[in-house]
Symmetry: C2
Subunit: 383 residues, 2 copies
């Protein structure tokens, strides 16, 4: 018998996306445990991973519903038998025929909208297609982006259109406290979680008071899902990046650096001792140009540099700049010991924003606490 | 005979990448015309488009050589018969076997490096593989990222290793004046182009003075290629983004807004009149998080908003913020007339940085001055 040589991160082409399965499972378990005590369901957001292998782990023990950010995600996950889908981006009427095709293939896909005009258009197109579109009304709980404020009379107007039209089913309300990303403490996240819950529950109560149905009361973001203490009135929470975590979430206090499951493996390609720079092949496409940590106290540049072996940050090495295929790595305080990082040696980079970094890749190299590559998981991209 | 209905930008799913063929051809012609008077060859960089249809237009009338930023680009373009390839990112020795496979399929692929240690490793691996790797020495002309300064004795040391080893062929020198992106006037670009030329020509002369061959003297960036007045001593220039152009290049003065060939078609999905915001489905993935224009006098946010029909900017509408699948559009000065942009209507966004915006898409919707989609061109991504 010939023993098959084990593939490690030393053997793979760079740049490459590396996913630590142990950390992934532990992150999933952490949120599941927090929510287990409540009566609220978790509807994982699949926009971070876009990968059936990851989402299967996230759905273990759950009700099986997912949140998507694109219809392509809906199509992909439906192929794997996931039918309970919330498309959590405001529906543009031009996309309804594609939604109808998903329904025809067995999807129970729920839409969101925040305008009476669109509600009417959705209802009319549904009747032309002889279908029914389930809909949640989007509520603005924090001024972050879309949705209606709880005091907006349009909520009831939309509710009536959706409830009274043959082509639409008013399922309920949803909100996303995106401002949780701008909180500077756990206490602030807890307060925003309560604000998020209050807003969407208030909207649900207003619909019910108007004699309208409201079975679904959906809220969520990774920070508020993690620190929400009171789920009264909510039926589900949504979260996505909690599975992978990233430097932005670590800076928020949602996780520790050691919880981040996603890294980018790269190779050293040049030394610039005069400028105290190591250049790697993980640039703007490999890491993304996301600079979200720039607004936080601990600005991580384009990512923190870790050893290939244990994925632990090396001293204060970070990615200072990123051209398309070049990453510029330096230290904040002192000189780099270049002999530790010969050209051709490999490193791993912790990303600022896992959702955006992962989006340049078509697969994950799966490891579990070591450099052995135990699996490759495909992911999708695009629309 | 049934007349086939013409597909327009109104029919396509959003977000989508739109490429104007007329503008593309005109941009290509502009640089070709500028360089026609000189004896210098153009070696187009294919990292912007990653698309054979675009690159065929760029190569018309040229010598047929291209520049790539990834080995995947090399593999893709080789499949279409392009064999003369410069891989313009410092070679990591771990990638040599993949380069060898390209050679085995007929590629004349030239590498770059800036270290004697790597030169030795490349030479040794070549001998193990019984091949010869052609190499250019990377010169640092402006402190932008990689390469050796012209006064560095390592240039000659590398030259000797490459020339004397059976496994390597010293072809010459190359540099990239990336600092041209930080110039604030055409005059400054012209000066940097001269600095770039001086540096790489000086390195070439030093090699020749040491009795070493140096047939290739390669320089380039879109700004310096466009405004370089004196090509003495250069054998080729490289440029990539000139084919598409973008807001960053327009701000630099390399092109006009009306020359930008690449836009992102998107749909309006929400109105937020209280906050003077239109929300579209072109967010951080559709546009990229590139904020390069933030360092320029005319900060364009995440892009400028144009009408679908003629791709001309609408008043002062721009993308203020970008979440994963949400673009937040506002005006700088006054109130948006929301009735002009109903939910479901479509717009086009001019990108900050064409190379990064295009990288989220697998195809271009090709138009030519109207909204009629005349073709679809595939592109590749990843590594």
């Amino acid at each position: 018998m010939i023993e098959q040589r084990q593939v490690t991160l030393n053997d793979i082409d760079t740049p490459a996306l590396v996913l630590d399965k142990g950390r992934l499972k532990s992150n999933i378990e952490k949120l599941n445990t927090r929510l287990a005590a409540s009566s609220v369901d978790l509807r994982p957001h699949v926009k971070t991973s876009k990968c059936i292998d990851v989402v299967r782990l996230a759905l273990e023990g759950g009700r099986g519903g997912i949140t998507v950010s694109t219809l392509k995600e809906a199509e992909y996950f439906l192929e794997y038998g996931i039918t309970d889908i919330l498309y959590a981006v405001g529906i543009a009427p031009g996309k309804l025929d594609r939604v109808f095709r998903l329904q025809s293939k067995g999807a129970d896909i729920c839409l969101i909208l925040d305008s009476a005009d669109v509600a009417g258009k959705v209802a009319r197109r549904a009747q032309e297609l002889r279908t029914t579109f389930p809909v949640l009304i989007e509520i603005d709980s924090d001024g972050h982006r879309a949705g209606l404020r709880t005091d907006d009379p349009e909520i009831i107007a939309i509710g009536k259109i959706l409830h009274e039209s043959a082509g639409t089913e008013l399922r309920g309300v949803m909100t996303h406290a995106g401002e949780s990303y701008n909180c500077d403490s756990i206490d602030a996240i807890c307060k925003l979680a309560e604000q998020e819950r209050n807003a969407v529950v208030e909207a649900a109560e207003a619909l019910k008071a108007a004699g309208l149905p409201c079975h679904v009361v959906s809220a969520g973001s990774t920070p508020t899902a993690m620190f929400c203490k009171d789920h009264s009135g909510l039926t589900e929470v949504r979260a996505g990046v909690y599975m992978f975590e990233d430097l932005f979430q670590a800076n928020l206090g949602v996780c520790g650096i050691q919880d981040i499951a996603l890294t980018v493996a790269c190779s050293v390609i040049s030394h610039q001792p005069r400028r105290n720079l190591i250049i790697t092949d993980a640039g703007a496409l490999a890491l993304s140009k996301d600079r979200s940590t720039a607004s936080q106290e601990n600005d991580c540049g384009y990512g923190l540099v870790c050893s290939l072996e244990d994925s632990k940050p090396i001293a204060d090495l970070y990615v200072r700049g990123a051209n398309q295929e070049h990453g510029l790595v330096t230290r904040r305080s002192s000189k780099i010991d270049f002999s530790r990082f010969p050209i051709g040696s490999k490193l791993r980079i912790l990303p600022n924003h896992a959702c955006l970094t992962a989006a340049s890749y078509s697969e994950y190299h799966v490891v579990d606490g070591s450099i052995e590559v135990i699996d490759k998981w495909k992911r999708i991209n695009g629309w």
